[in-house]
Amino acid sequence: MAQETLVEVRDLKTYFNIEGTWAKAVDGVSFDIYKGEVLGIVGESGSGKSVTALSLMKLIPDPPGRIMGGEIRFKGRDIAQLSYEDMYSIRGREIAMIFQEPMTSLNPVFKVGMQISEVIQTHFKVDRAEADKRAVDMLRQVGIPDPEKRFNEYPHQFSGGMRQRVMIAIALACNPSILIADEPTTALDVTIQAQILELMLDLKQRREEAAIVLITHDLAVVAEMCHRVIVMYGGKIQEVASVQDLFAAPRHPYTRGLMASIPRPATPGSAREPLKAIPGNVPSIMNLPTGCKFCTRCEVKVAQCDTVEPPLAEIVPGHFVRCHLVQPEGGAQ
């Protein structure tokens, strides 16, 4: 795949002011998004993955949140420095987003057709009739049967899966360069999840240039959908790798813990293995350890993990790990 960079995120810091202290929700995150790729961001709740995504759109509620530092370079501009005025032409047009809760993400009092044609009219100089026509076409593209009729219906007349399809239609209506999907299937039934993911892949194939950033805590979804994966924990990137490398050889203890916690059927003849869970809880972002963010739960930690934050090191080309115990050129442990 052509590795043409679309977005360069450098040292992004997004903090939240909670009762006078700054909680470091995203603390120095750097990564690239390439044209045409599906980039997965995984991590537990509170790891900073959603805040990273919202920062790309400058949708962090301010107050209490604020982008405190770093760059988000996109098409020659730094989103982190752009005014809200300038963001209007990027949001929905260049970068679009779909959210976790399809049940509440659509405005309940407007017809879904209007909610789609609205975004088209916002970004393109087309009249109402043309926008409506494109909106019906989008509904058809996202697999909503009888789109002319459904165009005039309200969100409450749609099921959860259908609403997420509408959200996707809104997001893709202006052919954005990047689609950010923040846990798009978490709130849906498993069968509907598969349909939505399939739809996203299908639509992706028709838009070679476009990139998808898929935020999820579901490694199975990552394995199915993504080219590259970023593992986040404690507001920092802990591991970056291609999906093949990551699943073949997870290096960071946290990633390995995540992999071990995927339920697998017991092999015939052998005893049923207990499901492994990562011990402990995600530390509060108000109270993160000074050293490695994962040290409070790490099973293999050494003394310096408590005090010294390890750097994000490239151990093999394209595979970055933030761990004292993982050395470049495979010299781990």
């Binding site: 963001m87 959210f99 509440t104 993400s105 405005n107 309940p108």
Partner: protein, 414 residues
């Protein structure tokens, strides 16, 4: 949808009957009714006569029992309460044109007719004086006895006439049909009610939106303090204070003291007439609207704040919509739902709280009329006001539901 509202309308009927029965009974059971007032008037008249003649004694001041019975008959109080209620509704024959008669002697009745009542084997029959061979049926005759045992015979006609036939009766005080009294005063009350309602909604919408957008700002906090103060004060009390401050010589005499127009109103030019009217409206409208402003403002503010934090607002921003459109179109459209649901009660607003406000500002509206009617036990007016109040409230409820269904597509009544 249609059947839902039809059902609501049908359900309003028993509610209406229940409300009116309660008011009807309570008002009639309260002491100081028209009979007692008549007695008092006669006593006062007698005392005056006695005062001038100087020979009055206590015994003379009571009404003779027969006269009292006739009064009762005139007011219809000789019937049991449930019959009175049904008569009032118009579902029970009402006795009209009562004339006391003596057996076998002609009595002149309405229309210049002469009637004679005779006792036959089967009871009493009425004859036209000119033809005493065949009894007539257009007149009925009652065969009762006075308390002292003497016969109490009277002829009468009956009719079904009550509020259901549009007959609200005649005011005891004004000796005029109640419907005419209300017709005169209703437009006045409606003017103040509607203007007060509009002012309350406009002010509350504006304040509520500003407070939500500047949540926790100095403006928000100070206006909240002011609103709570206003909310704690009845409109008529504020009206009285404002009158004292702005309409009397004690402080500033800027505005008229009350009424609808000044004495020289007719001689003014059209422009001056409008100004004159407006000057008379300022203080009453303030008094009318303060009650609603506080609660409506907080409703608006909380509703908008709540909606601004909803997921769909984030979606709207993510679509690249401008902040103005997100707030004024997406969030506002949802925020007005609870306010719109209240708007159906606009038709009751000229009744609610208008009693004392109209009194304070000396406005000749139906509030003042009913207040005076309650004090003087002018039953027909009190009952008419009850009917108007209950029906508008019930209708307001239904209209509110209807508006709610209009503004919120999720609500469909079945």
């Amino acid at each position: 949808m249609g059947t839902y509202f039809l059902r609501r309308l049908l359900l309003a009927i028993p509610t209406f009957i229940g409300c009116t029965i309660v008011v009807f009974s309570i008002v009639q059971l309260a002491p100081g009714g028209p009979l007692e007032q008549q007695k008092r008037q006669l006593q006062a008249a007698a005392a005056e006569r006695g005062g001038s003649g100087g020979v009055a004694s206590e015994g003379e001041t009571t009404i003779p029992p027969k006269a009292l019975e006739e009064l009762k008959r005139y007011y219809g109080f000789d019937k049991p309460l449930h019959e009175r209620y049904l008569i009032w509704l118009g579902l029970w024959p009402r006795e009209i044109d009562q004339y006391s008669v003596t057996l076998d002697s002609a009595r002149r009745v309405s229309g210049g007719q002469f009637l004679i009542v005779k006792r036959q084997a089967g009871g009493l029959s009425v004859y036209d004086a000119s033809n005493t061979s065949t009894p007539i049926t257009t007149w009925l005759v009652a065969d009762k006895k006075h308390e002292d045992g003497s016969p109490n015979i009277y002829v009468y006609k009956t009719t079904f006439s009550g509020i259901l036939t549009g007959d609200f009766g005649r005011s005891y005080q004004y000796r005029e049909p109640v419907i005419e009294l209300i017709k005169e005063r209703l437009p006045v009350s409606i003017q103040f009610g509607v203007i007060g309602f509009l002012v309350a909604y406009v002010v509350a919408l504006y304040l509520g939106i500003q407070k939500a957008l500047e949540h926790r700002s100095r403006f928000d906090i100070f206006s909240s303090v002011g609103l709570f103060a206003l909310n704690s004060m009845p409109g008529w009390a504020l009206g009285a204070i404002l009158l004292m401050l702005l309409a009397t010589d004690t402080f500033w005499s800027l505005l008229p003291l009350g009424g609808m127009q000044g004495t020289d109103y007719e001689s003014l030019q059209i422009g001056s007439k409008i100004i004159e009217r407006a000057r008379h409206f300022i203080l009453p409208v303030i008094a009318y609207s303060v009650g609603g402003i506080a609660s409506l403002t907080m409703l608006m503010k909380n509703s908008l704040l709540e909606n601004l934090s909803q997921d769909y607002v984030r979606t709207a921003f993510a679509k690249g919509l401008r902040e103005k459109r997100v707030i004024w179109m997406h969030a506002m459209r949802n925020s007005i739902i609870p306010l719109a649901a209240r708007a159906g009660f606009v038709i009751t607003i000229f009744l609610a709280g208008s009693f004392i406000i109209e009194l304070v500002f000396n406005i000749e509206g139906i509030g003042k009329l009913s207040y005076m009617a309650i004090l003087s036990r002018d039953y027909p007016i009190v009952f008419a006001f009850t009917v108007i109040g209950v029906s508008t409230l019930l209708l307001g409820n239904i209209i509110s539901d209807f508006i709610l269904a209009l503004v919120d597509p999720r609500i469909r009544f079945k």
